[in-house]
Amino acid sequence: MKLVCLSSNPSKPCFVLYFKGVTLMLDCGLDITQLQHFLPIPVVPGTQISKARSWTPGFEKKNKIGDAYQEVKECSGRLFIDGCFEMAIPELEIIDLSQIDAILISNSTCILALPYITEYTGFKGHVYTTEPALQVGRMYMEELVKYVERNPRTNIATKWKQEEVLMHLPAPLKDAVNTLKWKQCYTKHDIDSCLSKVTLIGFNQKMDIYGSVEATPVSSGYSLGSSNWVIKSTHEKVCYVSGTSTLTTHPKPMDQAPLRNSDVLILSCLTQTPLANPDTMIGEFCVNTAVTLKNGGNVLVPCYPSGVTYDLFECLSAHLEQCGLAGIPMYFLSPVSDSALAYSNIFAEWLSQSKQSKVYLPECPFPHAELQSQGRLKNFKSLHDMNLEVKTPCVVFAGHPSLRMGDVVHFVELWGKHSANTIIFTEPDFPYLEALGPFQPVAMRVCYCPIDTSLNFSQANKLIKDLRPLHLVVAESYTVPPIMASRRTDLVIDWEPSPFTYKHGQVLSLPVKRKFESVEIDSELAAKMEPVEVKAGSAITMITGSLNVRDNVYILKPLPKEVASGQKRSHDGFEVHKKSYIFGSPNIQTFVDVMTQQGISSIKVEDTGSGSIIHLPNDETLIQVDGDSTHIICEGDESIRVKIRDSLIKCLKRL
């Protein structure tokens, strides 16, 4: 068994697992933290960002690389790439994608690199995921594409990536890794074509993969339709734990039992903010919002169109009501906001018990449906659609949380100048100070309330203890304390024996030794078996059959008739023969008696202490019997040998 790690970010995982002759890709996450290096795409012209100037390094330019600096712009004292956005896709070059049998997708955030694989490589396998993961994943992709294409940049910046240019650039640009492998964003057409290839699968549905293994998604409690995977053969079990949450939010709770007692447990997607408690953070988020609104300021929440955003709507609206601020409008801006709100209400089967029970009434499971009908929550496809409708003070939820694209860019520029306003960062994917970089200096209040519902280290350690895997595989970074809290030795995965660790581009061999395979005995053959009970509760029988393999399933069938009956013996006569076995030690006297009955005369027995030697002088034969072994040395006629043989077998147990 082998595991290859293709992703550099354990929260945007991508693995390839080789198991029992089947090659599976586990997740297909897209790491977009590198977007921080790019200049934001402005929504309206004439802003600070569109005025950013080309960078002039403090030393003399060499001609060779001079125009490379045209691609680098200076903005608020930092450097950014002015060019088409590029994505850091998983490391696909180290594997043969045409050999992948299936891709298992855990949740809507782990599907974002899928079009790069289905549309641009030789991949021809199956893709499995749940319906909500697909639909929400589609929204994320469409939003991304829409933002990138809305005000398209035409120039593809490549020159700055040259080694000699890169080394002269200041950090953090200098530290950008694998820049040459970055790819441009896919298109709407790619998304449609890619997602049409996905096969939908429900929780606890057993999906057979080439008869060799069975993959089952089980609820992981992280987002709508999010799953962990149990990959099983008859005798081995591998569990893949991706984005998982044990907190009570809107999705169906995590299902832990199916993950127990595996041979291998692969763990990814732990919290990106181990120092923040999501419950406390959501409380702070609500309080900070209410305080700002009371003081007449506006609140900006950079967000994704689904996931925790639903919980933010729910918690915030309840809190505002309590504070007497129910009249404050909430605006939700995303090209996919219509779908995000509509879909959330039709996935009852994938929701927590309390939300699910609402549809039996029948009411919408999420309160945002009611907030919409009351006009407290309004959604728009873009800034241009909302125009005159904005009432201030208000709360605006808008993408993209990287602050490099989407309508949020406009609001940062618009509201950033006033200290009464607040921007609250809740998405853990991007470091908030870097996100704000190109907009600095901002006068607005900046709050950081990261809400990551993924497992934290203590939850993960508790989970592993409960699941008791034989081998544990975790990201290398999970075995050392996080950089920002290097003394917190509790913020690591703690497991004895020490776990296997993966990192970007690494191939791990996992010590899963298979001992058994499963085979079916044909009913006709089975009917002929005559098991002998040799010990209480244990029986044994010898079996000979022809082994057939079809679709990776072994079936033991009766031998073909002509072979078994010997009618059509092949050229050497022994193509097939049934073996039989004899047991125990013969009683010498009985043996002699039986031989006598067979017409063998003149039998002389000589005791040797450990056994006997029997002479048959008339037949030139000597028989050495020594407990569990007998040697018949027969110089006489073949018929005599057969007689002695059959006599002995009568005195022994036979199978």
């Binding site: 058994f516 009917a527 072994s629």
Partner: protein, 599 residues
């Protein structure tokens, strides 16, 4: 080899009151628990005393599965769980769980409030009953207990309708409930994997029908409605709250919009409005097309269709009214029918099947004078139209489903005996499998044959396979590999392992038996020459066995056969020795040496 036992308590050569008992691998499963709409006495419920005389059903049943929310499939459920007594698990899909209690309550009201029946289940009983229900998703493998597993497939008949696969070990049965193999305006078509069950229990409502195209029927329906209202007539469409009603509403809504018609369309209030809400929330269970467009426009939000009030019955002028229930056996639809029946301008369109005994059934059979409760005779003058919108599979659809899942046996239920006969013959001929059609209370026993799964040690598997096929060639599918091993049974564990290993494990001491015989020949020349001759001879005779020279000048064949030559220039002794396992080979070889060397 074990058998399946199936006993219909209802729906055996009959439509209505579906309730089928299945015994599979020692587990008892009840498939549906319906009531018969045509009866008002105890015959409307299945005879549960068949399961247990003392009424303690829980210990005799491992689970109950409900296929969809129609009352002929779930109507007896509260009666069974609360009035007879059953506390075990009940499975149904989410939409069924949501809608079923509403229909049960609706029926209860008609039975108790209107007909004044006593000894009927109460509202509280419906609630307690529904608490025992476990909602399932499509395609989810659900473990009822360690051995019993069920899985739901999309059936398309009504919102949330499902077919269920029931599996115990190797044995499996698929029960279709009611299903529809052609997608309609709001639901998709039924579909199932090639799961090769031992038995497929399928409904056969339309066993002999092959329906004309759906589009024609729709056009026909719209034309009839349009003609009637144009002449100033009123159109009554008795429907069940959920299902056909929504499909016909979508149909009329788009037609009205296109033709710019102003004649009012009404929908009997309460239940149906709520019903549309269910459709909106469970839109994942509707057809692909509706799912695709629901974000822009939810198809179940109707602009032309308004709520109905009882006072509108006597309103003058044309109108179209959807009213419940669908078989004209009680409630608003019957009330409207009574007051409109005498006018020949009016029309009633029956969009679905009606069970015997209901007013709907009577008028469809052409009865023009109908006796009502108090000996009052109703004269039926309005036009009666039957439109089969009922979403059942027709004969072709049933055959398609059989082709999809490839069962080893088929059983027909939920249909009329005579029609079943026809379909049975057709199935047996076309698929060459047995087809059963037990009547109510009759038990069908079906033998099943299965391979026995065992664990085989990987060592044995690899060794035996490499013995018979050379490592260089890929395994040849046509030339089977012969496998020999010891099957060890310990408790429930079956392991196929290497014989020697098995003997060690079980503490069996194998008796080592060896034979040694000598062939003496007079042959001149060095010993090595004779050895070489024997080697060539053996090799040519035993092509499929490994024949090898050993260092000490002896020859080994296969695992245990040993040939040693000794002697001088003139005569040689050839010693042949083999173990009991190679007895056949050894004695054969001895015979060859004797005949070919000594003559």
């Amino acid at each position: 080899m074990t058998e399946l036992r199936v006993t219909p308590l209802g729906a055996g050569q009959d439509v209505g009151r579906s309730c089928i008992l299945l015994t599979i691998g020692g587990k008892n499963v009840m498939l549906d628990c319906g009531m018969h709409m045509g009866y008002n006495d105890e015959r409307r419920f299945p005879d549960f005393s068949y399961i247990a005389r003392d009424g303690k059903l829980t210990e005799h049943l491992d689970c109950v599965i409900i296929s969809h929310f129609h009352l002929d499939h779930c109507g007896a459920l509260p009666y069974m769980t609360e009035m007879i007594g059953y506390d075990g698990p009940i499975y149904m899909t989410h939409p069924t769980k949501a809608i079923c209690p509403i229909l049960l309550e609706d029926m209860r009201k008609i039975a108790v409030d209107r007909k004044g029946e006593t000894n009927f289940f109460t509202s509280d009983m419906i609630k307690t009953c529904m608490k025992k229900v476990i909602a399932v998703n499509l395609h989810q493998n659900i473990q009822v207990d360690d051995e019993l597993e069920i899985k739901a497939y999309y059936a398309g008949h009504v919102l949330g309708a499902a077919m269920f696969e029931v599996r115990v070990g190797q044995q499996s049965v698929v029960y279709t409930g009611d299903y529809n193999m052609t997608p309609d305006r709001h639901l998709g078509a039924a579909s199932i994997d090639k799961c090769r069950p031992d038995l497929l229990i399928t409904e056969s409502t339309y066993a002999t029908t092959i329906r004309d195209s759906k589009r024609c029927r729709e056009r026909d329906f719209l034309k009839k409605v349009h003609d009637c209202v144009e002449k100033g007539g009123k159109v009554l469409i008795p429907v069940f709250a959920l299902g056909r009603a929504q499909e016909l509403c979508i149909l009329l809504e788009t037609y009205w919009e296109r033709m710019n018609l102003k004649v009012p369309i009404y929908f009997s209030l309460g239940l149906t409005e709520k019903a549309n809400n269910y459709y909106k929330l469970f839109i994942t269970w509707t057809s692909q097309k509706i799912k695709k467009t629901f974000v822009e426009r939810n198809m179940f939000e109707f602009n032309h269709i308004k709520g109905f009030d009882r006072s509108y019955i006597e309103n003058p002028g044309p109108m179209v009214v959807f009213a419940t229930p669908g078989m004209l056996h009680a409630g608003l639809s019957l009330q409207i029918f009574k007051s409109w029946a005498s006018n020949e301008l009016n029309m009633v369109i029956m969009p679905g099947y009606c069970v015997a005994g209901t007013v709907g059934h009577k008028i469809l059979n052409g009865q023009r004078k109908i006796e009502m409760e108090n000996k009052h005779i109703l004269d039926v003058k309005l036009s009666v139209q039957y439109m089969s919108f009922s979403a059942h599979a027709d004969a072709k659809g049933i055959m398609t489903l059989i082709g999809q899942c490839e069962p080893k046996n088929v059983m027909l239920v939920h249909g009329e005996g005579g029609k079943m006969e026809f379909l049975k013959t057709k199935i047996e001929k076309e698929f060459n499998i047995n087809c059963y059609m037990p009547a109510n209370g009759e038990t069908a026993e079906i033998e099943t044959k299965h391979n026995i799964p065992v664990d085989i040690s990987l060592n044995l598997l690899k060794r035996e396979c490499s013995l018979t096929s050379s490592a260089l060639e890929p395994p040849d599918a046509k030339r089977p590999c012969v496998l020999h091993g010891a099957l060890v049974m310990k408790g429930n564990k079956l392991q196929l392992i290497d014989p020697a290993h098995a003997f060690r494990e079980l503490g069996l001491e194998e008796h080592h038996l060896r034979f040694t015989c000598t062939v003496s020949i007079d042959e001149e020349g060095p010993v090595t020459q004779t050895v070489d001759k024997i080697y060539q001879l053996t090799k040519s005779k035993l092509k499929n066995y490994p024949v090898q020279y050993s260092n000490d000048g002896s020859i080994t064949v296969s695992e245990s056969v040993l040939i040693k030559v000794s002697g001088d220039e003139e005569s040689k002794d050839i010693l042949v020795s083999w173990s009991y396992q190679d007895e056949e080979l050894g004695s054969y070889l001895l015979q060859i040496l004797r005949t070919s060397l000594t003559t």
